[in-house]
Symmetry: D2
Subunit: 304 residues, 4 copies
């Protein structure tokens, strides 16, 4: 797995639904196409923000088919392949590979009682897998808090050198991981709420579903040019919106609503039980977008 | 939903796997056929003990197909239809109905943060569903502890009057539920470890994967005849094995090993990360079976 | 309990320690005195940020003695009285009252398995208590997620109409609480990270240990004058620092370090296992303070 | 720490309360005296079953004073010294040592988010401590699941070679611990529900509050004489009662009620929110005691 391939601003594609609750393939294709236009270095599908546990296998496949086609020639894509057992993960990894995915993203099995079991899990996941594995550290969705020692053991077992963090606070975890294994590729996540510090701590990029990847890319670009002042100015300027979208629970609905306003999704519909964007939240959204000077649209945001 | 239909000793069918990790349909059919011979009043498939989160949708369907055929004319079956979102649950309920299931068993969505959301979840599950819903109270597998008030609200929302408990200690929860809603049908579970007290507290039966449903049926039969002394004698006699099989984690592997010894399963293979029956556990199993006087075999156990 | 008494910007006083790990009473007195100078409407001691579970009873009492003296004639104080059993809470409430506390703040007992038990807990807490109770919704420190229904039941049982929220996201919970019980006094918390939305949703104030209460007070002041634009401008300007201090885990150490820089605490020492401010974090802190234009000092911050 | 000193059947003393909710010192003394008469090899106080989080420091000290006096010349005692921070643990360890305790029992700090921190915690606990540390693995009371790797690291950091397990299922964890560190002294716990398998797996004894330590001692005695058949017969005979007392939640109240019936405690009162022995539970208790042939009394039970 080359460092060149997995770094930068990866965009996590949500799974859009039609008004009658079917997977909306046209919106998926549009999202991938727009993500490329907005400057994403890759896209990830079938993750937590893709509401993957709410999809049937047929719907999973529909997403993969659509994304593979839309991404082709534009940008690489990673596919979430998490499941409760190694054999089901392996099946999903094979499927992802057959669709041309650049990597499979795999989290701990839900509610794993004993983190010593994590390396065993990833060892069995790895068995007949050629596709690079991105280990996903996602306590909120899995109920599993992974200490750095177990995370490193899992990565070794998976033959993986790429990890995506969602366990706040992410910046010190990045420092610990890179101190223990300097060659790792660590992606920040969490909707970008700590992107500036993550990147300063050595993150190779951000992989998240934040609705304006342009902003995260601009922060990273400035840092890569050594211009910390500019990076901070951009990050700080948009932070009120980043933090607003980053709210636990309602965050996904806000993100989908903003993508709808950007002309990418047909609806802001979600499937799970997370709260939707009600009238009050919608007014807060208008307010915060105005405050940071964003008018949502399909064209790349001019980040200043 | 009639009280007559849902009571008694229901047997939860594990999902057997072949040596090369495929779903073993012949063993499923044999298990269902044997469960009937052992006196089960019904069978339940695709539950936690069926390792349902480790199955692909195609495998789910294979299980349903096989069970529907094997159960027909023998005994009713319930199908686990749990999922993270109401729409996926509904799809599974429709599927279960199309295979002739007598009921759909549905647990809380995994890691639901707010039990106030449970009634909303079941309300949306119910929408276009005719099939009776068995609400499953399963904190260990879902990470959701459901207080009695939220459980009752969920049942009302689901239009359900049948609940299966797995939240220890189950006996006092049965008392609380029946005090609040005397007409409920409450099944005990937990491998039968508290079956005697559960039934005395008013449980309509036991729904569990305990490998000798004959024992649970005999306990219930004695209680229904008013013979508490006999019920207790039977329960107490077999309790060392019941408690041994009821161990968290390794319990499923023990159960499958015993079903293998009963000639029902081809292998004791499990898919998840739970420990398997190693040499020490196997010796303990031999020991405890000898202590309670069980020689595992396909014929109904003569319970004394 | 009058609405007038409990509203505004309450400042949660950390428990400072000397270099040799004793409770630093001089620093406590200084903090209370400065909190008044910075415009706090009240102070709260012996809360989660006061590392109360790391204090002996003698140390608790030393804190109370010092605060009572320092607060007298300056501003009212509330005392954390949480404990695992109602009788111990009651003892602490009596103690708090004897020191002249204006209210007792009480959270759910740690790891309470069944939120239906919360009302019973607060009913027993209330028994012989005259002191107003502030119910604290603190899932992170207690391991107990309290749904709105159980929170309202607990407040009724406690005879309380004041609640402090720490369960993110707080803004929608405020809306739900006030919709159900319009007269409630709801304090936001969480280090102020959502203070602007909390106040807009109807929070009566913010009760948190954020190291610059002047900022939260200024946001609230602007909103109370109807000047949302100014409120947002202030909040947004300082948000990079608010979010930085608000980090889980390391947040307390950052806060103590900043209070040390403000000349209030002798050391930034913490007692628990939470990470301390290492070199990298310290550099990040310098950076973010510079970005928002804060030079920490004992005088009230001029908030613009 | 010598293996001879820490092995056998240690009895965990509950904290009895008077009718008006004060610590009942006379009952404590009586319990210790009876525990010796019943054949306990040591007693442990101020543990989870001692409702230690519901005691004030003054009450802690009263318990220690009473136990130290009652145990002197009779049997060694260990004292629970758990707390949220190393400094408070150390203070409690010093106090326990000053009262003549043979060891301090220390669990993980509640809700510790990252098990990598456990060794750091115990390293700081150890610092100026001479008293042997018994590491307590108590996920139910602490909310912390400790994998074997972290448990071993914690023991090394604490300079401890004695561990007490309460994380079910305990038997396989014993095997794993002893395989990794053959010299460890491992106590089983959990009310004795798995005592027979624990001892067969190599446990040095059982440390639990089970109300009839005579039974656990007899099981161990038979195994030490190589008479597995007799050990199993005793264990199996009493298992219905062991399992009944071992119920989560209500178990402590049952235990106290039985100790009341044995003439040891004045009342069965508990302080926390755990359910008490209501009428139905009391009838179940009568029933199960009769089934196993126990008539509770102060004299040592004749175990057959």
């Amino acid at each position: 797995m080359t460092q060149e391939r997995f770094h930068g601003t990866w965009y996590i594609v949500p799974t859009p639904f039609t008004q009658d609750d079917r997977v909306d393939e046209a919106s998926i294709a549009r999202t991938v196409e727009r993500a490329a236009a907005w400057g994403a270095d890759g896209v990830t599908v079938l993750g937590v923000m893709g509401e993957v546990t709410s999809l049937s296998d047929a719907e999973r496949e529909a997403v993969l088919t659509t994304v593979a086609k839309a991404a082709q020639g534009r940008l690489p894509f990673a596919a979430g392949c998490s499941a409760a057992s190694p054999s089901l993960v392996r099946e999903r990894v094979r499927q992802a590979a057959s669709y041309g995915a650049a990597a499979a993203m795999v989290a701990a099995p839900p509610l794993l009682p004993d983190v010593d079991g994590l390396a065993r899990f990833f060892e069995r996941v790895r068995q007949d897998t050629e596709l690079p594995i991105i280990v996903q550290d996602e306590p909120n969705a899995t109920g599993v808090r992974i200490p750095v020692s177990a995370l490193l053991a899992a990565m070794t077992a998976a033959g993986s050198d790429v990890v995506k963090l969602e366990d706040p606070p992410t910046p010190p975890k990045i420092t610990k991981l890179l101190a223990a294994a300097p060659g790792l590729t660590v992606f920040g996540g969490l909707g970008g709420v700590a992107a500036y510090d993550e990147l300063n701590r050595g993150a190779a990029g951000t992989m998240t579903g934040f609705a304006f990847p342009e902003i995260l890319k601009a922060v990273r670009g400035a840092l890569e040019e050594g211009d910390r002042v500019r990076a901070a100015r951009i990050f700080d300027r948009y932070l009120p919106y980043i933090a607003f979208e980053g709210q636990v629970g309602v965050g996904l609905a806000i993100r989908k609503e903003v993508l709808r306003r950007r002309g990418v999704l047909e609806t802001a519909r979600t499937r799970g039980l997370a709260p939707t964007v009600d009238e009050v939240t919608s007014a807060e959204l208008d307010d915060v977008l105005a405050r940071v000077g964003i008018v949502p649209g399909p064209e790349p945001l001019e980040v200043r």
